[in-house]
Each structure stands twice: as C-alpha cells, then as structure tokens.
Symmetry: C2
Subunit: 325 residues, 2 copies
C-alpha cells in the first residue's frame, strides 16, 4: 500500500508518519511506500520505505506529480495556519483552498483512480453563536478566512466523493493539546503552554480566566483519528463525509486540576495568570463543546481524561520523566 | 446609483431589471445607470439608462471590466443551472464558483470600494436527510455539484463581507413557481407546468404523487427578495450573511386545489398524472419545508397563498386573462 502525506513537516503529519513507520501497516495492509511532502523537507521516520519530498501543492504541476504514483491513501494535512491565513488573505486562499482543489483535480484527472482521501479540517469551520453542543448538523459559518477555506474544502471533498473521484473523509480536529515544542504565538497556544511548560519545570502564562472552556484532543488521539479515517468503512457515512471529532470539553481550571493530579502542586505553581483582554476576546468566539456521537458511533475514540493526555505527553515527549523539583 | 446585474438574461435577472426600470429607484435613491450582463445579450427594459453587455464572468479580465465603474449595488444572479452543473462538472465549477470568486476578487482589488453584493443562492445548498423544517442553522451539505458551488460562494460572501471587501447578502431562493415560458427539462419543472399550462388552456403532465411537498416562491416574490436584500440594513445580520428565504410549503394537491379555486375544474382536468419514477426519486431528496423566521424578522416577505401566486401569474404573464374554455 502506497501512502502520501501532505503537510508532513507539520506536527500532526510528522507524528502520523512516525506512527505509520512504527506500525509498518495500515489496517491489514503492509505499507510499501510512504511519501512525505511539505513546503520544507519533512523528516523520514525509521524502518519504512520513505520518499521525502518538498513541494508547494498550489504550484503548477505539483499536485499531478504528487499523485502520479496513485497512492491508495492520501492524508491531506498541508495548510497555512489560522493566524497566517488571516494576516495574508491571498496566501491562505492559495494554499488552503486552491492547493486542496488542485490536489483533488489531479486525482480526478487519473481515470479509474479513487483513493481514500483524509482531510484534516478544523472546528474553526464553525463560528459563534453556538448551541450548547455542536453536532454534525450545525451550520459551518466560520469567523476566520482559515475556517472559510476549511469549510470550502469540506464541500469539495463531499462533492468529489459523491461523484466517485475520491473516497473522502474530512475530520474536524479539536484544539490539539498538549502541542509539543516551544510556546508559539497562536492565540490558542496557552491551552498547551500551561501544561507543557510546568511539566518541563518552566513558567507559563495563563491569559484567560480559569472558567474558559474549550474542546481538546491530544496529538496521539489526533493521529488515531487519521488512522481510523483511513481504514474505516465509509459506507455508513453516506453523503455527509465531514465529521466532528470526539474530544474532551474542559475548562482551564479542569486542565490545571489534571496537572495537579499528575505532577503535583509544584507544577501548578509555575502557572502565572496575566489576563490578556485581546486573547480573552478571541477565545470567547471559539467552540466550547460538541456532540460527537456520530463520530463515536463510527468508531473514532477520544482521550479518556485530561490526566491521560498529560500522562501520554510525559511518555511521548519527556521520555516518561518529570523534572525533579 | 449605479447597479450591475449579472445573469440579466435569465428569468430572475430579467424580471428584476424590469422592476427596477418601473420603479426608477432603489430604496430612496434614483438609479443613474443600470448595467445588464449575461453570456447572451440581455434585453434592456424601457425607461431607465441601461447598458447591455455580454460577458463570460469567468473569462480573463471580464470581472474587472464589469466592476470598473464601481456600481454601488451588484446583483449576482449569473450561473449554470443545476442540471448542467451536474452533467458538465468543469463548466459548473468554472462559472458558478470561479466566476463568482473572480467577481469578488475584482471588487477586492479596488481600494475603498465596498458594494452591496446580493447573491442568489439556492435551497439546493441543503441536502437530505432534513429536519421537519430547515432553519438558518442547518448544515449546508448539498447533494449536487450546483448546490456545492452555491454553498462555497456563500462562504466566500460571508468571508469577503467580514473582511470589509463587500457588504454581502446571500439569499437561498425556494423553487420558483410559476416559472413563465415553455415547459423545460428541469426535474422541478412540473411544479410550474401543472399550473402554467392549464392556465394557458394546455395539457400538463404530473410525474409525481399529489402528496409531494416543496418550498415555493413566485417570480414576483423572488424579485422582492432581491430588492429587499439590496436595501435592507445589514447590521442585524451579523456574520451570518446567508438567509433562507420565506416561501410557501405546499403539496402538489394543494397547488391543484389553488388552481381549482382560481381557474375552475376545467383547468384541473388538463393535468394528466403519469408517474416518472426517476423524477419521483430526485424530488424525494429535495427540501420540503423551512423555518424562515429569521428572514421574516428581517423584513423579507413571501407570497400569501398559492391562489395569490396563480392570480399574480395571470396578471404578470397572461395580461390578466384566462383562456375562454
């Protein structure tokens, strides 16, 4: 089985490639060739035949080149992140919308080719005001250009699937927590920072009230969603190919309680609250809670608790160890 | 005030131009210049300064040319109809999606220009399964390429509005009934045929059961929606710029009862039932009933009854007369 991952230098793409390399197979089929592509060269994982490629998927001929070997599975995770899609209008539409459409068109141009196409959409496809819990029938009325581009590609994915050009599954990822790496400037970064930094013995700033609620999934759960979307029976999806992924609805206070439970009061003391009205205002427009019963019924699985998210982060990112305090 | 109508040779575009010419003004402002464009030359109405233009809005430079005079109001009704968008995949995306996007981009490229942009979307933006009544929070999960293209342009309209490039209003038109002219091959044509043909003393074929329910608006009501969308205060819309238009939910039997009431049993006898399983199956996937309370609250007004639709058709299309039987 041949697999293509776009956006493979990104956090999710990289973790997916590592998981595929570790498993050596997807579903019941051995992986014969893994192609990783991104705008910067991705890192090849060990133990699997991997081609590392750099590409601008919106560039001329690039999409056709990427699908010429007819990979049976395409994980399309490439994209400009929300902050940049908002600050650079043209670039966001070019990469997130046109790049995705060119990829779908390249697939369509190959007669008889119909890959499983897994697209990482986002809960940014939704916009306030929200119901108490957002289900799969709630309108995609995004409040960012990034969310608009994701919702448009979802529509293409459903139509290209209906027409028989792909076998598409769009998964709307929750906020990924705990994001590994350094603190970044994303407005949502603090949800990860307030756990990751104290777990590494570092201070973290909390810019919102503890009562702020969000919808979370761990990197490990997100990779599990991608694998399941690639291997599931898509028959039960019918025409509705885009799914809210399950997650954990938690307040910041609940996140901090979980940190206390796993790492103790010393870790919690490293969090300094410093309200940032601009961030608080943005976060106010984000979805807080979902009814993911459809995805759960289709076999997608979320993290069991925030304590589990923290424990898995310690295993996956900190070699199983907390710093001695 | 300068006004541009795309798709001005189409039924709705033509009726809108006639209404604007008759009124001479829009809202409280006199119309100084009306530009009508379509892929074939539209007909200029009497009594108003009109420029007749032919254009392929998806052609190079065409969109820029159309907006160069900075019309304050743009009615964007141009598009490939649903049957053709389904049979010609490339053409549908090219005109309905790319043409609309090029128009929006041409507007964006003019600094400080921010026209009211009224887009005729469609209830085809929705797809089964439906709730009992579709409200403005129901997901746009279309089951045709046409509906997909409409839903994608709705997303663009909302994002371009949010970014300040246009002041957009998308209106999802019900099935237009009674469509004037000859019977056409659209699967939905019979909803009009079974009224229009008997009113003209001609036979009509009914291809579905009398219990089939649909969501209707008259051409006169549709033109009223467009005028209201062009003149309303858009402040109360917030970020949700696309609206289900009010209409009449009626069964075929109810349509026929109204025909009997207005034109007598003789007209009804001209309808011959001949079930077409292919049409019956297609119609089965169409929306039947809406909750248009949002649009009603914003001042959009539907036809009062099917009898009124029929009486207005007699006034507008038959010079107020029924054929003597």
């Amino acid at each position: 089985m041949r697999i293509l991952i776009t956006g493979a230098a990104g956090m999710i793409g990289r973790k997916l490639a590592e998981r595929l390399a570790k498993d050596g197979s997807l579903g019941s089929r051995e992986i014969s060739a893994l192609t990783l592509t991104d705008i910067v060269a991705p890192t090849a994982p060990q133990g699997i035949p991997t081609t590392v490629d750099t590409s601008d998927i919106a560039g001329p001929g690039e999409a056709a080149r990427l699908v010429a070997s007819k990979p049976e599975i395409i994980f399309h995770t490439a994209g400009i992140v929300s902050g940049e899609a908002e600050s650079d209008f043209d670039k966001g539409y070019r990469v997130n919308l046109d790049g995705s459409r060119l990829l779908l068109e390249a697939i369509r141009s190959i007669p008889g080719y119909r890959p499983r196409f897994v697209f990482t959409s986002s809960i940014a496809a939704f916009g306030a005001p929200y119901p108490d819990a957002i289900d799969d029938e709630f309108i995609t009325a995004p409040l960012t250009s990034y969310g608009t581009q994701k919702a448009m590609v979802e529509l293409l994915l459903a139509d290209y699937t209906r027409r028989g050009f792909i076998d598409g599954v769009g998964i709307r990822l929750p906020t990924i927590c705990i994001r590994p790496g350094k603190p970044n400037k994303a407005a949502s970064g603090f949800f990860s920072n307030i756990l990751r930094e104290p777990l590494a013995g570092q201070e973290a700033v909390l810019p919102v009230e503890g009562s702020v609620r969000a919808w979370h999934a761990s990197p490990r759960a997100a990779v599990g969603f991608l694998i399941h979307a690639a291997t599931m029976d898509t028959g039960p999806l019918g025409a509705r190919r885009n799914l809210n992924m399950p997650g954990l609805s938690a307040t910041v206070d609940e996140q901090i309680d979980a940190l206390r439970q796993v790492a103790g009061e010393g870790a919690v003391r490293l969090i300094r609250t410093e309200i940032d009205p601009a961030i608080a205002r943005m976060v106010d427009g984000w979805p807080r809670n979902f009814d993911a019963s459809r995805a759960l019924g289709l076999g997608f699985r979320a993290d069991a608790s925030f304590a589990e998210i923290i424990r898995n982060h310690i295993v996956d990112e900190l070699e199983g160890r907390l710093p001695t305090s």
